[in-house]
Structure formats: structure tokens, C-alpha cells
């Protein structure tokens, strides 16, 4: 049995971190995607998770003929047709069961073949299906969260073994889900007044008085599925960084004219899940300690790849954030706005903004400008409560 390797040897053996193509995101990840690590990328449909995966594959294989990439496809085929570069070192494999994937990694570890980068698209869907299978087999619903955590820890242990023995990186491409999408999740987030740990959208819902006031949060589907609970730190310990990709409004000064500009860009919310502060604490209590970075980026029209749009807004101190009071719009759903927006000096009045919930993002922009007197930082994109 080997006693390990020296740090000098480790530095020599380890390849350079893999660039995402977005320099601000690389900075947030400490120079990029490191070997011997597992990352998670999650976000709503169409936001560019697969595109980010393709970009990683391209950066891994271009200029290095020895680097091999394995794309594990689950319910959706690998997007080989979107890869307009040399695909000689890209391999694909299909698996549509959680247990199949577990055995696959056990077998892969025994083989001499080495993949420098492994992407698993739709990993969260495999987990969701697995939970459904367990429930259908008669497992107690009350214990399903613990079981999910155990099984995730099991498969992530195998993945960690692989990444450490082969100096590889694994990237999980996952969906996201609203945490209050189901009624029977119990008290998971009942005790939260505000969930603003930076890794999600915020929704304040008081549409129907008889309904429980939820703080609805978009989370990775590994967390927000039918096995929700408060022990996710069991498996999160294996994931180095979780990157949530969401939509946001671009910030353009609309000046005195009232022309509306609703161009969108993307933000990546990078959370260090391996950070000590994250572990074993309720979400509501670690919000001020979480190591979280926000990066803004978009697609470069000329090259078709992701690029930076301005200097990132890293290390936001969430302690400083103030949740604005609520006002009701015409439909009766409530959205959060700043009191300062009621000032007539604003170019667009909040009432006008609230007529159209799509304008709320701009309202928050203006709010942030007022509060911080600098470029807006993180915008909470607010949904209509029915949305």
C-alpha cells in the first residue's frame, strides 16, 4: 500500500487547472477546474449548462492531444453535433440508472485507461429516478432523505477515488428545482426567514393568505428533489464547488428616455461546498459565512462561446444585504422592491415597474445602485408568486 505522494510530486503531476473560458469564473474557482476534484454545475433549462460543458471539453482537448474526455450521457445524448472541434479524444457512454453509474465507476477505477475530464450530464435526473424507485419499493418516505444522502455519498466516494487516482476532474451537469415545489416536505425550510445564501433566486410569496409563506429557492436538483432534508452536507463534502448558472438583466443606463432595455446575461453563483463554514449548519445560519462569488458572463456573438462581460463582483458580503419591503402588484402577488424606488427622481416608478413583473429585475438594479452607490451586485430575480 502506498503511503501517499509528496506535495512537490503532487504539484508536478497535477495538470494546470482547466479554464472555463470565462476568466472571472476561473478566478472564482482559483484558476479554473482543478484535477482531483468534483464540481457541480446546475441551472434552469436553456441557461447554458451543456454549453459550458462543451466549452470545458474544448479547452481540455484543444492543444493537448493526450487529454481524454469522457462524456457520460444519461437521458439526453451527448451534444457531439455541437462540438465543432476535433473529437478524437472525446468518448461517450450511456447510463440511465444510478446503480449502473455506481458500478461503472467501480469498474473504471480498475482499468488502466485514464480520462482527464469526465462530464455527467443529467446526473441529478438519475438521482431523482433512483429516489422514485426506492419509494416505489416501499421505503419509508421519512427516511428517504437519509437514504439519498447515503447513496450519494457512496457514488461520490467512488468518483473521488477515481479523481484522486487518475488526477482527473469530474463535472456534474444538473438541473435545478424550486424547493417549495411540493407540499409534503415538512419543516425543512420553515424556520427560515430569508434564504439569501447567494446560490439561488429569491421569491417572496404571499399570494394566498391561507398558504404558508414560503421562501422559494432555486436549488440544485440534488438538493431539491422528493428527498429533501437537512443532511445534504454528508454528500456535499465531496464536491469542491457548486456553480449555479442563472439569468440576469444586463445593466444599461437607460438615461432620461424611458426606453426599456431587457437584455439578459448570465450569472454564475460559485459556492465553495468544501468550505468549513458550510458544513453541518442550517442554511439560515450560515448565510453570512458562506464563501460565495458572483460572476457575470454571456455569449460572445462572434465566437459563440461564453465570455466575461465585465469585472466580476466577487466576495459579496451578504451581511450587508437588506431585504426590501413588499408591495403588491395588480395580480395580487407580491414582489420585493426598495423604498427608495418610490422616490420620484427614479426614471421608472415602482408602481409602473410592478405592472409588469418582468420589470422587477430593473427595479432591483436601481435599488442596488441606490444602496451601494456602485455597480449593482447580486440581483434577486423575483418571480411572480405563481411563476
Amino acid at each position: 500500500m502506498s503511503l501517499g505522494i509528496s506535495l512537490s510530486q503532487l504539484i508536478t503531476d497535477n495538470p494546470q487547472p482547466l479554464s472555463s473560458g470565462v476568466s472571472a469564473l476561473d478566478d472564482a474557482l482559483n484558476k479554473g477546474f482543478h484535477s482531483r476534484s468534483i464540481y457541480e454545475i446546475y441551472g434552469p433549462p436553456g441557461v447554458g449548462k451543456t454549453k459550458m460543458g462543451i466549452q470545458l471539453v474544448q479547452n481540455a482537448t484543444t492543444g493537448n492531444s493526450e487529454r481524454k474526455v469522457l462524456w457520460i450521457e444519461t437521458h439526453v445524448s451527448a451534444p457531439l453535433n455541437l462540438m465543432d472541434f476535433d473529437k478524437g479524444n472525446i468518448f461517450t457512454v450511456t447510463t440511465n440508472k444510478f446503480t449502473q453509474l455506481l458500478i461503472f465507476f467501480k469498474k473504471l477505477l480498475e482499468k488502466d485507461e485514464k480520462y482527464d475530464l469526465i462530464l455527467i450530464s443529467g446526473f441529478s435526473q438519475l438521482v431523482t429516478d433512483h429516489i422514485e424507485i426506492l419509494l416505489n419499493r416501499g421505503y419509508n418516505f421519512k427516511n428517504i432523505h437519509e437514504l439519498k444522502c447515503k447513496h450519494l455519498a457512496l457514488i461520490l466516494t467512488e468518483m473521488t477515488k477515481y479523481t484522486h487516482s487518475k488526477n482527473a476532474s469530474i463535472v456534474l451537469l444538473n438541473d435545478c428545482m424550486n424547493t417549495s415545489f411540493q407540499k409534503d416536505i415538512g419543516n425543512v425550510e420553515d424556520n427560515l426567514e430569508v434564504v439569501d445564501d447567494g446560490s439561488n433566486f429569491l421569491v417572496s410569496s404571499s399570494f394566498n393568505s391561507h398558504r404558508r409563506k414560503n421562501t422559494q429557492v432555486l436549488r440544485s436538483s440534488l438538493v431539491a428533489n422528493s428527498a429533501m432534508g437537512n443532511k445534504d452536507n454528508i454528500w456535499e463534502a465531496f464536491i469542491r464547488c457548486s456553480i449555479g448558472i442563472f439569468w440576469n438583466w444586463k445593466h444599461k443606463d437607460i438615461g432620461n428616455n424611458r426606453k426599456r432595455n431587457f437584455e439578459k446575461c448570465r450569472i454564475a453563483v460559485v459556492s465553495d461546498l468544501n468550505g468549513k463554514e458550510m458544513q453541518n449548519k442550517k442554511r439560515a445560519t450560515y448565510k453570512n459565512e458562506v464563501d460565495c462569488s458572483i460572476v457575470r458572463f454571456d455569449i460572445d456573438e462572434s465566437s459563440g462561446s461564453f465570455k466575461d462581460i465585465k469585472a466580476d463582483l466577487n466576495n459579496i458580503n451578504f451581511d450587508d444585504r437588506i431585504m426590501p419591503p413588499q408591495k403588491k402588484n395588480k395580480s395580487g402577488s407580491s414582489v420585493s422592491i426598495s423604498p427608495s424606488l418610490t422616490d420620484s427622481s427614479r426614471q421608472v416608478s415602482p408602481e409602473e415597474l410592478l405592472l409588469d413583473t418582468s420589470l422587477v429585475g430593473s427595479a432591483i438594479d436601481a435599488y442596488n445602485k441606490t444602496v451601494y452607490e456602485k455597480e449593482p451586485e447580486l440581483e434577486a430575480i423575483i418571480y411572480d408568486s405563481e411563476g
Binding site: M1, L3, L7, S8, A153, T157, K161, K276, Q279
Partner: protein
């Protein structure tokens, strides 16, 4: 924490990456020392350490004397510790990060064996103190949760393992 704060078995809860790096740096300044970093995840604070000790020829000895080992269950940890203890030439510091992960992974298979291995690991390191030549530092990455008095200690939870170790095997918890 400084080197004098290190006992035979120390559990460190209030650490940060920078403070761990500083401690490692201070320990390796002494001649004839070697540090074993046993880890369940890829958590060695490389960036912070490189800020303190730049990776160049002058510091090659320091980088050579840090041995990083991956251990994902108690059996692996026991085997590694046993092997480290066999070599008594140098002054050694064993840093264990992710004990909760190792213990949990072993408990999935056999809970009683996981307990047995935990006991054997710490009895081994306690028995090999030999005048301060071997010290063990356990990093509690789960943070500290106060334990109510009279509450039975459970090793099932991630923090429970550190409480259990602290109560029965550690000399000090920081």
C-alpha cells in the same frame, strides 16, 4: 494555534486554511520533521501554503516533507497510520482531515467494525507518542456544536464522531 498547543492527539475545530498552513509551515521549519496529511477530499490548503512558502528550489525540502494521502474509510486510515508509526526516525505530525467521511463510509458497511477501527487508530497513535516524536492533529471541518450535558454521545452524525473522539481519545480540543 502554535506548535506548543499540539498535544498527543489534538482536535482542531476553529481552524482556517491560513492557520493550518501557518502551523504546517512552522512545524516543517524544524529539522528532521515530516508531515502526513491524510485526507478524504482534496482539501490541502495549497494556495495558502504557497503564499507562505513559495514553491522554489530553496523550499524543496519543505515540499518534499509533506506527504499527502487519500483515505476514504477507516480501514485505509488504519493501514496508513500503522505504516507511519512503523517509521520512527523523524518527528512526525499526522494531520487527519475528513474523519467523519471515513467513519461514515465504513459505517455503511459495518458499524461495529467502524467503531473498532476508530478505536484501533487512536490507541495506536496514543501508544506511539514516544516523547513527542509523533503527534496527531484531527481537523474538525464540520464546526463545533455544543453538546447538552448528559446527552448520550452518538457517533452516527458527522459531528458526533468528533465529539466521541474528543471525549475518549483526544488530549485537547481547540
Amino acid at each position: 494555534m502554535n506548535l506548543n498547543g499540539l498535544k498527543n492527539v489534538t482536535i482542531w475545530t476553529t481552524f482556517k486554511n491560513t492557520t493550518v498552513s501557518q502551523l504546517i509551515c512552522d512545524f516543517l521549519k524544524e529539522e528532521n520533521t515530516i508531515l502526513h496529511y491524510i485526507d478524504a477530499v482534496n482539501s490541502f490548503p495549497l494556495m495558502e501554503f504557497q503564499n507562505l512558502v513559495p514553491a522554489n528550489e530553496d523550499n524543496k525540502r519543505v515540499y518534499d516533507n509533506i506527504i499527502i494521502t487519500t483515505s476514504l474509510n477507516m480501514q485505509e486510515l488504519y493501514n496508513i497510520v500503522k505504516k507511519i508509526i512503523e517509521n520512527t526516525e523523524k518527528i512526525r505530525l499526522i494531520v487527519i482531515n475528513g474523519l467523519d467521511i471515513m467513519f461514515r463510509n465504513s459505517s455503511f458497511n459495518d458499524s461495529s467494525q467502524a467503531h473498532e477501527l476508530l478505536k484501533m487508530v487512536f490507541l495506536r497513535v496514543r501508544g506511539s507518542y514516544s516523547g513527542g516524536k509523533l503527534k496527531t492533529l484531527v481537523l474538525n471541518r464540520t464546526g463545533s456544536v455544543p453538546v447538552p450535558k448528559r446527552k448520550k454521545l452518538k457517533t452516527e452524525s458527522s459531528n458526533g464522531i468528533y465529539e466521541f473522539t474528543s471525549k475518549y481519545y483526544a488530549d485537547i480540543e481547540l
